[in-house]
Amino acid sequence: MGERKECVAMLLAGGQGSRLIPLTKHTAKPAVPFGGKYTIIDFSLSNCINSDIDTVGVLTQYQPLELNDYLGRGGPWDMNLKYGGLHVLPPYQAEKGGDWFKGTANAIYQNLRFIRRYNPRYVLILSGDHIYKMNYRKMLQAHIQKEADCTIAVINVSKEEASRFGIMNTDDSGRITEFEEKPAHPKSTLASMGVYIFSTDKLIEYLTEDENDPDSDNDFGKNVIPRMLGDKQRMFAYTFDGYWRDVGTLASFWAANMDVIGENPALNLNDPSWRIYYRHGFSHPEYVGTGALIKNSLIGDGGEMYGSADHSVVFSDVLIKERALVKDSIVMGGSVIGEGARIEHAIIAENVTIGKDAQIGGESDNPAVVASGVIIPAGTQIEPGEIVDEDSPKGGR
């Protein structure tokens, strides 16, 4: 008790995820459900505790109600500790006034007092809206071994994708020589994952400097990293070669959910060596009735299945009625799929009711989406790629 924490994590969870609307209309992106059981933030938090990092500040801002409820005191991730543990850090009023977090760097700057309380040697900066299983401890070992001031996790992307990311150019030792934000002509394919380890003194030094610069956007990628590079600080890339997705769009969110399906899925969630923890409801076991046909799918508990599911991710407490078919789709918790309804290539959010014989989606590059709480009347047809929320003519509440 009261010992120094070697590494404290700061998890940026304030993002809106505007391209995920309507899923993020009333909730922050990190609180969006994923993979039949989880919310997106479970991945970063589970990575922390699986990496023996038990002290995490979660910076919230946008629509924090559901996220705060979900996090609680961090019990599901074994972070309800007396010393350390999970702390939700919302924007606040201080002596010299308060403000919304101006950028990612400013969000951390405003919470330096939290970091100092644990006097850590290293600070891990994370984003709460990525899907991946990563051992931060290995990255920290690399950081220590290279005597780095800052280590940035990178992932190899294709040449075409590289223009959408912050790209690191490195020398043979892995030291970062140049950083380019969304370059038109990328010189390398090492994309930043938004996962940084800083030696604490350097972090404080550069955040303070950044805060004092009135022209700065107070953003790690845009301001802090380039400034440190300019000062020739020791900055290294740490290459991560596992599964990592930003799920920034509805199409990529759908695709990442499909990646958890199958015997050898791209993202294996049934991994006892790297469990993803989540907050549980009181769901009873799933009942599969006569006439149900479920194949190649992941199904949560607490629901009742009387229809069919094929190549889909179905969350807890979902009722799929007789003759209904859910194909290549995501159905989130508490939704009801009516008799004979056909759901194809769609994202059905939480507590949706799909009426009898309704047809949702179909072959398309983009999934059809029904936002949470919406009632789709019997027989309604929702086009492929169409988005229905409570304000749409086809949606009711």
Partner: protein
Amino acid sequence: MDAAGIILSEPYLGLKERLIDKRTLAALPFASKYRLIDFSLSNMVNAGIRNVGLIEEKKYNSLMHHVRSGQEWDLDRKHGGLTYLPPSAAVNSTHRTNTRLEALLNNRSFLRHTSEDYIVMCGTGYVGNINFQNMLDFHIEKKADITYFFSHNAINKPALRDRLKVKADDDWRIISVDTSDKEALCADMAMATCVVGRDYLLDLLDRLSRQSEARSYPEIITSLIQTEKVMAYTTDEMVIYLDDLPAYLSGSLALLRHDVQQELFHSENGPIITKTKDSPATRYGENAEVVNSLIADGSTIEGSVENCIIFRGARIKEGAVVRNSVIMQESTVGEDAFLNYAVLDKQVIINDGRTLSGYLSHPFYCGRNEII
């Protein structure tokens, strides 16, 4: 609620079942993700009981591992909460307890130190979603000394041969025991669920402890109803007895009935709570066929499953056919194996191609960690 709870994890009946070879009865897994204790604890907290003593006798390792601090039931409290009462816990405890009476005598200090006026006592060997608040209200209204719980809606019979039958008068006071009267209520000893005033119970235990000769439970009840006001509280809440292997299998298969699911899992009394495992969602393979079954999360279904109860982390491989069976946690049924009326305990491995069959009255049982 002005009551503390006592849960007896042992039936004290000398049951000889391989199901409880390695665990106390309260720790018996049931219904895909629960253990029997979950029902007792959930019924208590759903009735507002915040102070629960869990009396243990033997083989309670898996029970403690499951219940831990009681946090799943919000029983990890500064005041009250869950108290483990193992056999040697009390200052003057005898080393072993062979009857419920001895178990209670051993734990008088727990009773003395509770501030609640009433004690809800819960035996083991059955499950139900039961409203203990209603039972307490009845007890108070009738100014009873002891109120025993009876269900009109037991969906199977307890295995126990020496069932205790009682007869009640029009006001539900128990007036006789051990009758052959068909109308009599079955006070199944396995249930042993009752409400009693705390001071009254302490006084009664003192009186009983002074009696020198050892007496059986029916003898004690028979003499109690002469002198005390012992009432029968009856409800339609469903109970399932699980005190031997055939009862366990038939009780498990009863879970596939819609009305049973409604009674147990959708009751207004509240949810049945269990230890969380952070299991992933259930994975269904390309050729999975599941009909009329209860499937826990974290399991993997690649074969054919019909009328089954599948626990967390179990795996039914491709080509396997499993019918009318219970497959407990982390057991694996190999490719092209065939199982009918089987109960596989935890972490059993059935190798590829094996054929194993029992019958409802004689289930094929496979003990924990066995490989066939």
